[in-house]
């Protein structure tokens, strides 16, 4: 099973190297192999769930570099695998209009490999390198349209992203100066004996850097630009996976497993989380650009995840990680919906839409499912994770946070019903009379994600038991992570 870990990273990298060549000879083959690669990595994630004992990490070592798979990274790999699979299928037809599909596949595969690498690496420098790999591919993909908006968004994203990367790298240097190692597990053991001042500064730099990658308020300003300007499948990938793998995952790993959680960090995360929830959703409420609205909701939903995780109680972590998984599914679905609408009618402006439920029934129905999911309406998946986060807030005695989370949830519902009202309800405009449903690969991707939303909602106890709880266990180990991983690698 161990060998699957490097394969998860190597497979996309190898295909990234070959894709351009294969594309030159046979375009259809390149489409299919890309989908196949994502399917295989997704299959790996599922296979690992089936064959490896719960709550016990797998460690793969090569040349002193370690890859570690525990419950938390496993959840992220599954999330990334599922979203990447449907994004790849969707892109087959969506990316036709952009041209340069070979370059797209190369960048997409590099980004996927980077995400897997970040999540799997057990070493800070390796983690940083994969993080940069994913981030650089993301900058390039945001600019893929080469229009003024994508370039502007990409530039701003790039500058802020590099500033954040510098913060992270300085923090890594401080950890090395203090603990003499880049290895997460060893650092977890040694950092407990170092001076609190350096630890605190390093932690603050990590939190700022990773917080920017995950777009927590006030580090969120790049996100609405970047996620709006990127091609829709990439927006799905960015909002669905990237901000979580590079942001939330890294925060959780470093904070809980390496530095150890304290009440200060907990309150920082909760406060940033709750402000993100409210600011993100309020900004979304005023948007008329379909994708920008969705992008601001990513800020808001990341806030829920940070709030849940920041509570640092088992229930809170469970709610946060469950919401991470759910958000990946429904937000990527929403971006795919937005892309479907945009590619068919040529605009993202909600005011110019209307009556699309008759013209585009699949897009309309799946977007309704996703909207209800994100708004936390049962029986869809978002309901459960939001419920757990609110239960956890109240359990921790923070009724005010629960109240704000609920207000955020109501406003989320309001803004998505606005989308439904303006885009899908009503009479179709004259200009939209010739509109048809999107091509088959796009509808397949959307319907599958919608069904997953429903399935997770209905099978919630199983999902919690098999996917979320191992991740919660890994987080709850705290700095015991070091001992466990070092034990597992012997």
């Amino acid at each position: 099973m161990r060998i699957l870990l490097p394969l998860l990273i190597a497979l996309p990298v190898v295909w990234a190297a070959l894709a351009a060549v294969v594309y030159r000879f046979n375009r259809r083959a390149a489409d299919l192999i890309t989908a196949l690669v994502t399917l295989i990595t997704c299959g790996f994630a599922i296979a690992l769930y089936l064959f490896h004992p719960l709550n016990y990490p797998i460690v793969f070592r090569l040349f002193g570099i370690s890859l570690v798979l525990d419950g938390l990274s496993h959840l992220l790999i599954l999330t990334a695998g599922i979203v990447a699979l449907f994004v790849a299928i969707y892109s087959i037809s969506y990316m036709e209009k952009y041209g340069r599909k070979d370059l797209f596949y190369v960048l997409f595969m590099l980004m996927l490999a980077g995400i897997y690498g970040v999540v799997l690496s057990g070493d800070l420098i390796v983690m940083f390198i994969f993080l940069e790999m994913a981030a650089l591919s993301a900058y390039a993909l945001v600019a893929f349209g080469l229009e003024s908006q994508p370039l502007e968004a990409s530039f701003k994203y790039f500058i802020m992203g590099e500033a954040a990367s510098a913060f992270i790298l300085i923090a890594i240097g401080l950890v090395h100066a203090a603990a003499g190692t880049f290895d997460l597990a060893e650092a977890a053991l040694r950092l407990q004996m170092t001076a609190p001042f350096i630890k605190a500064v390093a932690l603050g730099l990590f939190l700022t850097g990773f917080g920017m990658k995950s777009a927590l308020f006030p580090l969120h300003a790049w996100l609405p630009d970047a996620h709006t300007a990127a091609p829709s499948p990439i927006s799905a990938m960015l909002s669905g996976v990237l901000i979580k793998a590079l942001g939330i995952y890294a925060i959780v790993r470093v904070l809980f497993n390496v530095f150890g959680m304290t009440s200060q960090i907990s309150s920082i995360l909760m406060i940033l989380g709750i402000i993100s929830i409210l600011v993100g959703v309020l900004l979304a409420l005023g948007q008329w650009d379909f994708k920008r609205l969705l992008a601001y909701h990513s800020v808001s939903q990341i806030g829920y995840i940070a709030l849940g995780v920041g509570l640092a109680t088992p229930l809170g972590i469970m709610g946060g990680l469950y919401h991470l998984f759910n958000h990946a599914i429904f937000k990527s679905l929403l971006f795919l919906n937005a892309g479907s609408v945009e590619s068919q009618i040529g605009t993202r402006d909600l005011k110019e839409m209307g009556g699309l439920s008759r013209k585009m029934p699949v897009t309309s129905a799946t977007s309704l499912v996703a909207s209800l999911s994100i708004a936390g309406i049962p029986p869809f998946n978002g309901f459960w994770s939001k419920l757990f986060i609110i239960l956890a807030c109240v359990q921790a005695g923070k009724i005010w946070l629960a109240l704000f989370a609920v207000i955020g949830s109501i406003l989320t519902l309001a803004s998505f019903l606005k989308v439904q009202r303006y885009a899908f309800f009503g009479q179709a405009k004259e200009t939209l009379s010739e509109i048809k449903e999107s091509p088959v690969p796009m509808t397949i991707a959307m319907v599958s994600l919608a069904l997953i939303c429903l399935a997770i909602g209905l099978l919630s106890p199983f999902v919690i038991n098999y996917l979320i709880n191992p991740a919660v266990g890994a987080v709850a180990n705290g700095v015991g992570y070091g001992r466990i991983v070092l034990g597992a690698s012997k």
Binding site: P224, L283, G286
Partner: protein, 592 residues
């Protein structure tokens, strides 16, 4: 398989079949709703039943309400066979109806709050889609789901608090006294859910908006009957089993104040409506005020009266909406001014409507009278301990008076008077449409005449315990006050009809003009009330939606959104400054 599970799952599964086969949908829905009705009777008759798989249980009280819900589903499906024939999304329409009854089973039979919340939230989806079923109701459907779904989200806090305080999510695992802020917050947040569903002020405003776009069948099904049953069920459940509301406690006074305001404000709104359906929708809000008032007393007889009123209201209100649907089908018109003289053309609908109107106005021997009488009785009983009773009593009385007045106006202008362009070719509707309304009207009579031997005994008292009625049918204070209220209503009606006694052919500017231009429509009867000094301002504020909590809050959030949006000025340096500022604060907090 357990009947409870079947009652929940069968409609939801068959709803999917309805989506797929739109031509067969009406038959599937008819058969399934009949099956569910039969099952619900079995469940009711078997007393207690438990399904361990989904943690459902039935007792006489909740299975009685489910029986009523199944009955209304069946009635509406039956009515829709003919009335909804031309609907474009017919498959979805029946599918949503079935999902609603399935989810209602989940709500009613739930043993714990988690299950209840799950199905409660699920009910919002078919409601949203049914309000928007004609495709033009985007705004109203949006408002409906924001208010209903938003209050569901609030319920999460209440449920979380109960879980933390009690250590258990079972409904009624322990009685929580309403004497500290935690239980009060929990109670209020659950109340928000119940109020939004039932349409109690201030969470009522989705109902009139929905009435403008939703078909009459939908109005009869959801806001008039099923949502009332479920909302008041939850209110009663939490007020009896979880947080016992003590008479004269703060919460009791709050509930009664809300009930009274709802009764009066909504009926005042109803008085000035020009749209048949919208007028009925205001009464749907007003009537729920009586239920809240009754349950809010905290006295057994008040709770019993409130619950009985819940059943009664569902019967006559769905009947009224279906009659309105028949009228709309026959004439294609919902504006009151354009209707008139339908009594001769649609005799069945007219008499049925008359009975239902008498019921809602609380005229004996129809069912509305009995439940209102019980509520009045409980208020009188309250007089022994609280001086505030007179306010509640006055509100209830004037509510009755205005209700009668507004229905007299309605009956006059829709069924009596002279026919109009829209109504002179109207015919009685198909039997499939009038039969359900006749059944409901019969029920109005049966529930009124045999109140104690049938509905109270079997449906209400299982929840409240047997109540000895003080002075039943004696010419006591309650009866007298009720009749006084009716007399006041008649007076208001007569006061509105000033002038127009002598009849002459209209003769203006030297020539005879068409009669339709001068006929007394009845829609303007109460313009005198509208023109009164203070009330005039209240009406104009209400029309500008100053009292609509939805509009207030959405205006506030839009303002906040604009402010935040202004800060995102597109400058890279601003964004970088936020980021560095964030970094400074984070590091400062950590090294402090």
């Amino acid at each position: 398989m357990n009947l409870l599970n079947i009652a929940l799952i069968l409609p939801i599964i068959t709803a999917l079949i309805c989506f797929a086969f739109r031509n067969a949908a009406k038959w599937i829905a008819l058969i399934v709703s009949a099956i569910v009705l039969i099952f619900s009777v079995f469940i009711f008759l078997s007393g207690h039943m438990i399904s361990p798989w989904l943690m459902l249980y039935s007792a006489p009280f909740n299975s009685g309400i489910f029986m009523a819900a199944a009955f209304f589903t069946f009635i509406v499906v039956l009515f829709s066979q003919k009335s909804a024939e031309g609907m474009e999304r017919i498959g979805e329409y029946y599918g949503y109806l079935l999902i609603t009854i399935g989810a209602a089973a989940g709500v009613l039979f739930a043993t714990d709050f988690m299950t209840l919340l799950f199905f409660w939230g699920m009910l919002g989806i078919p409601l949203y889609l049914l309000v928007g079923i004609k495709g033009n109701g985007g705004a109203a459907a949006k408002k409906t789901l924001i208010m209903v779904g938003g209050s569901d989200a609030l319920m999460m806090i209440g449920i979380a608090l109960i879980w933390v305080i009690n250590g258990s999510l079972m409904i009624g695992a322990a009685r929580l006294p309403l004497n500290n802020s935690f239980t009060i917050i929990a109670y209020l947040s659950l109340l928000a859910g119940a109020f939004a569903k039932a349409g109690v002020m201030p969470l009522h405003s989705w109902i009139p908006d929905a009435s403008e776009v939703a078909p009459s069948e939908v109005m009869a099904f959801l806001p008039a009957s099923l949502d009332k049953l479920l909302g008041i069920y939850l209110l009663a459940r939490i007020s009896i089993d979880v947080f016992p509301v003590m008479p004269n406690s703060m919460i009791s006074i709050l509930l009664m104040a809300i009930g009274s305001i709802t009764i009066l404000a909504a009926v005042m709104g109803a008085l000035v409506q020009h749209d048949f359906k919208k007028l009925l929708s205001f009464h749907a809000i007003s009537q729920v005020g009586y239920m809240v008032l009754g349950i809010g007393t905290g006295l057994p007889i008040g709770i019993a009266g409130g619950l009985f009123h819940m059943f009664n209201n569902a019967v006559y209100k769905s009947c009224l909406f279906l009659c309105q649907g028949s009228v709309a089908q026959a004439t294609g018109e919902t504006k009151i001014e354009k209707l008139g003289g339908l009594a001769a053309a649609m005799p069945v609908t007219f008499y049925v409507f008359l009975i239902a109107a008498f019921s809602i106005s609380g005229i004996p021997p129809f069912n509305g009278f009995v439940s209102k009488w019980m509520i009045f009785q409980s208020l009188i009983e309250l007089s022994k301990t609280s001086p505030l009773w007179i306010i509640w009593l006055a509100a209830a009385m004037f509510g009755s008076a205005f209700t009668l007045a507004s229905f007299v106006k309605l009956i006059h202008s829709v069924f009596l008077g002279s026919p109009t362009v829209a109504t002179n070719k109207a015919r009685e509707v198909n039997w499939q449409m009038w039969l359900p309304t006749v059944l409901l009207a019969l029920l109005c009579v049966v529930f009124g005449v045999f109140a104690f031997s049938l509905p109270l005994k079997y449906l209400v008292f299982p929840a409240t315990g047997w109540i000895l009625m003080p002075g039943w049918w004696e010419p006591g204070l309650a009866t007298g006050l009720l009749l006084l209220g009716l007399a006041a209503g008649a007076l208001i009606y007569l006061a509105g009809r000033t002038g127009g006694v002598s009849v002459k052919p209209p003769y203006i500017g030297g020539e005879l003009i068409e009669e339709s231009a001068t006929r007394v429509t009845g829609a303007e009867f109460y313009n005198t009330i509208r023109e009164m000094p203070v009330i005039k301002h209240i009406y104009s504020a209400a029309e500008a939606r100053f009292f609509d909590i939805y509009e207030i809050l959405s205006g506030f959030s839009r303002g906040m959104s604009d402010i935040l949006s202004w800060f995102h000025n597109g400058l890279l340096h601003t964004y970088l400054a936020w980021m560095l500022l964030g970094g400074i604060v984070i590091i400062w907090v950590l090294i402090r």
